[in-house]
Symmetry: C2
Subunit: 322 residues, 2 copies
């Protein structure tokens, strides 16, 4: 097995090699090249390569499908950014801001079909399973995004519904990345499904941790401004589970969110979270989903040194210091 | 073989049987049910059923893939209507007008993946070919839509570029419908490719005929108001080929389009088209692409009575009275 960074470098270099039609079609493909060149951690295709390597000792047949999964991920970002009216992603203009909304829609559609084409570049024996895994995952991602949008207009969201949303929107794709890599590596269906579970639960833990970091993280290592979610009144795991606590706290929390966005609001909300122990309960939740991920991983037939590589991946992703 | 109407009735009834998740996901699926229930001629899935019937004497295995192709078609309408800001389709509000733009984007994405799922419900022996045909077609459709959008800002478009645009945007899907039906019916790859060609050329002829009807048709049988394209300054086959004629006519045409939308403009533009013989040359072009379609059909190994069914389909679609 290689290191996570080594897999990432391979993905970066293969993405650079992709070539798209230019000339009269450049207005369709330039936004795609722009989106795919934004960098990022590439955790999804890295996981696909890792799984193919762990089960099959060969990453080559997984490279194009892995890029398919990264292309799918970026397609969802293009369309989500239109829906959320986000102007900035990874420090650059979003596609719809730079090229216009119609381009973001149509180039996004093109990326979804390109992703299907890349994904289908696997052997006949696993083609149907890979395609079905990919398509079912995509449906889950849309359902998750729909829940996320619906939540914006809801006054109260059950924590279990929030978990379902992030399980669909974030977990399913990471699960599919692990499963498709495993299938390409020749894993049994049982092992491949356990790898899906590993990715799914890791994704859920990652998302809750991300919510936690936004309020309780160290801005020097988090890379974003602390309190962004509070200032944007985002319905995070912290917010949703705090509202479920008791009616008095819920009232205090709603009042704190009436304070104009800024440090005063961030401090007020954070204080309520701390008073209620949301800090600790969110961490427990991260640990809970991390344990489910590791349990699934441990149940695979992989030898322990390969399991260890995935443990490191999950640890790095979730950023959990033991 | 059944009649075109009989195939259409089967498609209508199977679409009614589709069931989508409700409850918390109803905001994602209601726009899809709304879009699919709009009716229309269902020419694409009808062609798929016909081709499966002609080559395999069995429509059953083609029904779900045929609905996949109709779902794909409706997905493109959802997104095109957002991009074109169209408010009305088939006499009803467009999806983005009724449910909002975000719904049209996300439910459209979901329809594209549903289409992939339906299309993949074919036997192992043809799975890869069917998926590749579907995905390549989809890419062509996006490229066609991009050209169509780019044309809006161009002063002059070569007729050959216009043909390329409609070949991609309209022809490729009709071609894929015929080919995928043929493959499901057990056609050889050679026959399936000829059926693709039949559908492709029929689609091009259909689109030029549609442009012709909008200006020269009989409003009682056309079903739309005559002159709509002229009033919307749409870059049709007539307009594009007229501009290529000579610089003096081009100048007169541009001036006629300066007249405010209304009967005076429609009459002025129509008179120029007639003076230049665009009426006749467009008809010739329809005949040209129709002949190419029939040539491809004739080259298949189908018995003549089955070829005759497809001839009738093309005639009905193009509405050409011999």
């Amino acid at each position: 097995m290689k290191t996570i960074d080594e897999y990432r470098v391979i993905i970066e270099s293969e993405i650079k090699k992709l070539s798209f039609p230019g000339g009269k079609f450049s207005s369709l493909y330039a936004p795609i090249e722009y989106a795919l060149s934004a960098g990022g951690k590439r955790i999804r295709p890295v996981l696909t390569l890792m799984a193919a390597d762990a089960f099959g000792n060969d990453i080559n047949p997984a490279v194009i499908p892995a890029i398919g999964l990264e292309t799918f991920h970026n397609f969802t970002l293009l369309h989500d950014d239109v829906m959320d009216k986000s102007d900035i992603r990874r420090g650059r203009q979003t596609v719809h801001k730079k090229y216009g909304e119609n381009s973001a829609i149509l180039s996004g559609d093109t990326m979804l079909t390109l992703a299907s084409q890349y994904i289908a570049q696997v052997g006949d024996a696993i083609l149907r399973n890979v395609i079905e895994t990919f398509n079912s995952m995509a449906i889950k991602v849309y359902e998750g995004q729909q829940l996320d949008m619906d939540f914006e207009d809801l006054d109260k969201i059950a924590t279990s519904d929030y978990i379902e949303m992030i399980s669909n929107k974030t977990g399913a794709l990471i699960g599919a990345c692990a499963k498709i890599g495993a299938l390409i590596g020749g894993a049994s269906e049982i092992d491949a499904d356990k790898m899906y579970e590993f990715g799914l639960q890791t994704g859920i833990a990652f998302q809750i941790q991300d919510d936690w970091l936004d309020t309780f993280g160290d801005s020097s290592t988090f890379g974003k401004t602390i309190g962004g979610d509070i200032n944007n009144a985002k319905k995070t795991y912290l917010y949703v589970s705090a509202l479920e606590h008791d009616s008095q706290t819920a009232k205090a929390l709603r009042e704190a969110f009436q304070i104009p966005a800024g440090d005063v609001r961030v401090k007020a909300v954070t204080r309520i979270y701390e008073k209620m122990g949301i800090d600790e309960s969110a961490k427990k939740s991260v640990n809970h989903y991390s344990s489910l991920a590791l349990k699934a991983l441990n149940a695979t037939s992989l030898p322990d040194d390969k399991k260890e590589a995935f443990r490191k991946f999950a640890e790095k992703l979730i950023g959990r210091k033991k």
